[in-house]
């Protein structure tokens, strides 16, 4: 079903753009980025084409339903559903995950490729627009496929994009593993100086191989985590599956306030996964 496409990223023009970006947003950036060229082959994707109101493709995505154990381990407030009101295609080539407030109750959605698709190494990317407002916690992330046998954090977690709704101009890229999880992960943030991630689409990606994980926003490398950077075991040599969700409240983000606008939407244009062609 997936046609294999050959694409080459990181050509010369993006380098120039990156240099300009670095010049403009130089605050916490290296002055110059030199990245090796790679050729990526598409191995899995969802472009979210389809009729408005449809649930996401059941051959690619499964649902997490309910309130999890202790608010999915984070004291999150939302109840996840598989209702089209919370998660459905918009008919314009996007998937929309909507967090809804019903008096003091919140519903939202969390979808995952667990049991349907997982991959070791490669490039994982999603183009999306985040929700906003205090207490909103959208994420594009991955978990080790062996979570069912070894548990968390031994399975490893790669958060490609997380955002706190009270800081709609900052995204975070993070890994959690044994000895460096929860409040003590390996993490870095990327901020827009005069912009936000909630009113334009941005491309969030990692490039992951046996030595390192590189984190990108709009093809700008803002974080490289190598084996030696991890204060514990490197658990990223096995397949990981993908998750997309919008949480409300929780330890990471705090509670929504009366000023948090609802409903809130994360709009995802596509999710694509590549393997390096050697």
């Amino acid at each position: 079903m997936n046609t294999i496409k050959n694409i080459t990223v990181h050509k010369r023009i993006p380098y120039i753009l990156m240099i300009m970006l670095a010049a403009f947003w130089g605050c916490e950036r290296d002055a110059f980025q030199k990245l090796e060229e790679r050729t990526w082959q598409l191995t899995w994707s969802d472009e979210f084409d389809g009729q408005a109101g449809q649930l996401p493709d059941a051959t690619k995505w499964a649902f997490d339903i309910g309130t999890g154990d202790g608010g999915w381990g984070n004291a999150e407030l939302q109840t996840y559903t598989n209702s089209p009101a919370n998660v459905s295609l918009d008919g314009g080539g996007n998937l929309v995950i909507t967090a809804i407030q019903e008096s003091n109750r919140f519903t939202s959605a969390r979808i995952k490729t667990q049991g349907l698709f997982a991959q070791k190494y490669g490039r994982f990317e999603a183009r999306l627009k985040t929700p906003y407002g205090p207490g909103m916690w959208p994420a594009f992330w991955m978990l080790g496929e062996n979570i069912g046998t070894v548990g968390w954090p031994q399975c490893g977690e790669i958060d490609i994009m997380e955002l706190r709704g009270q800081e709609p101009h900052i995204i975070h890229g993070t890994i959690h593993g044994p000895g460096y999880s929860g409040g003590n992960p390996v993490s870095k943030s990327y901020a827009l100086k005069n912009g936000r991630f909630d009113f334009n689409f941005h491309l969030y990606a990692i490039e992951w191989d046996e030595d390192k994980i590189d984190f990108f926003v709009d093809d700008y490398l803002y974080q490289r985590i190598e084996r030696k950077d991890v204060p514990g075991e490197w658990v990223y040599d096995q397949p990981f599956f993908i998750l997309l969700n919008v949480a409300v409240g929780g330890n990471y983000v705090g509670f929504p306030t009366a000023q948090t606008p609802f409903p809130q939407k994360m709009i995802i244009d596509f999710v694509r996964v590549y393997q390096e062609a050697k």
């Binding site: 906003y132 407002g133 205090p134 909103m136 709704g165 009270q166 800081e167 709609p168 101009h169 827009l192 005069n194 912009g195 936000r196 909630d198 009113f199 306030t257 000023q259 948090t260 606008p261």
Partner: protein, 619 residues
Amino acid sequence: METNMIDIIKKYLPIILVAVLFAACERDLEDLKPVPFPSNPEVFIDGFTAGLNYAAFGGSVPTAFDVDNKVTWNNSKASMRFDVPNAGDPQGAYAGGVFFTGSGRDLSGYNALTFWAKANQSAVLDLVGFGNDLGPSTYQVTISGLSVSTAWKKYIIPLPDPSKLTAERGMFFYSVGPADGKGFSFWIDELKFENLGTIAHPQFGILEGQDQTETSFVGVSKMIGGLTSIYNMPTGVNQAVNIAPAYFEFNSSAPSVATVDASGKVSVTGGPGNAVITAKVGDKTAKGSLTIQSVGVFQPAPVPTRTPDRVISIFSNAYTNVPVNYYNGYWAPYQTTLSADFAVNGDHVLHYTNFNFVGIEFSSPTINASALTHLHVDIFIPGTLTANAQIRFELVDFGSTNVTGTFTRTITPAQSQQWISLDIPFSSFSGLTRRSSLAQLIFVDVIGNIPGFYADNIYFYTEAAQPSVPLTAAPAPAHSAANVISVFSDAYAAIPGTDLTPNWGQATATSVMQIQGNNTLRMAGLNYQGIQLGTSQNVSSMGFLHIDYWTANSTQLKVFLISPGPVETAYTLTVPTNGWRSIDIPLSSFAPVNLGDVIQLKFEGNGDIYLDNIYFRRN
């Protein structure tokens, strides 16, 4: 090379000059564009920026604002300090003023006015904003109730549609009152315009974002209200911003039915037909709309012809209405009836919608209708009736016990969509054993098939000959007490010691009686009647003698002003009256009476006269 160039220029200079001259001649007026205003974004950084002025609002403490060199944001050279007064400060009740420029600035490149602020205690700034130019303030934007703390923090006032802001003079203004009666100080620094990418998701609304529908007529106009504006701030929270109507561009889907002007005033111009009024701010569509369902030309209720002295009016443009508590009591929990009253060419009409029952109350004071005989009401059912309907009228008297009288009228389908004028004798109201303290009129949909109706000209009247006593009180005076020296009125304190019934040998029986709870001076069987002022009055700075008078049977009436001598001059009043008549007599008419020393008034004539609101007033 350089020498060569200079040589060339020297050689050809005359030609170049000629060419320049020609070019200048060829330029026509359309090429002349107005010089744009400067786009300087800075208002107050380390002091006033060029051209900036300050003016305090009237009634505020004029010295509330000062430049502070000690408490500043980020150790800059200066900040703006504002000292809010304590309640009762003789200098002023609040701190407030405008920072404005003498000529305009082009702010179209900025989408926000920003500043850093702190206060010496947690406080709420009642109003801060942009666009007050001490004139029309067309593009004003304000935030109400801005909370500031004791730590410096950045605040943002978003500017909707900056493309309109090409010649702005009002840079910043504030109006802040005491907190719980106590004054405080706050500081503002780095006040400037910015183009922020961190404010997002503006949402605009008209009619509070609701879609409303109204039945209307040619000639009806109304303002679109409920203008709202919300921005999402860099912290992800929504902030309500008050923005001027001029930011909204209103549109009518059918100008032949209804037009809307730049201020949001909708005027129904035609019909039958529908027009949808919507608005945009910049390229954003505002939430909410008004659908005008125009019925076309309104057919007004028949104009009442009864003389006012036979009428006690509750709702009519033909008469002066008595005090009414409400025209719709919204009686919970069973009433569904709503009000959508309207005016067509100045004629007000009650419009009850979603009708089951509705009450009008006029209990302060109640109406004594003992001397009257009928209730008049005009009703109009705009919908189509499919079967006979019944409307019940209930009159409630708030005497020692409540007494209710009811009268039911059947309306046939053929009678809908036209005015039905009802003259209902009190004797037809079953159970109405008393009508000296009427307080309520209730309409009830008996069958439940009347969706709504218009009502007009609701009044009680007498069919008998003209009453000899006024049914209603004299109109309430509207002049400010500071401009009045009063002889007799409930509205003003009278000259102390004034004697309304001095014994000058007159045959007149003079007394004070209450009409609708209002003291009225009655002179029965008048030949003459003096009024002795408590003290001599200097009315030379006054312009007029005001009198309200009422008489059904007098054929001759004069009023005199008297100064010592006696010097007295008469002024003839037109009688009889048709209801209350108000007159303002120029004091010059009383020459040669000494206006510096007026001691008495006198009425002379015949019949029974009723007087109220006798006072001198300034121009």
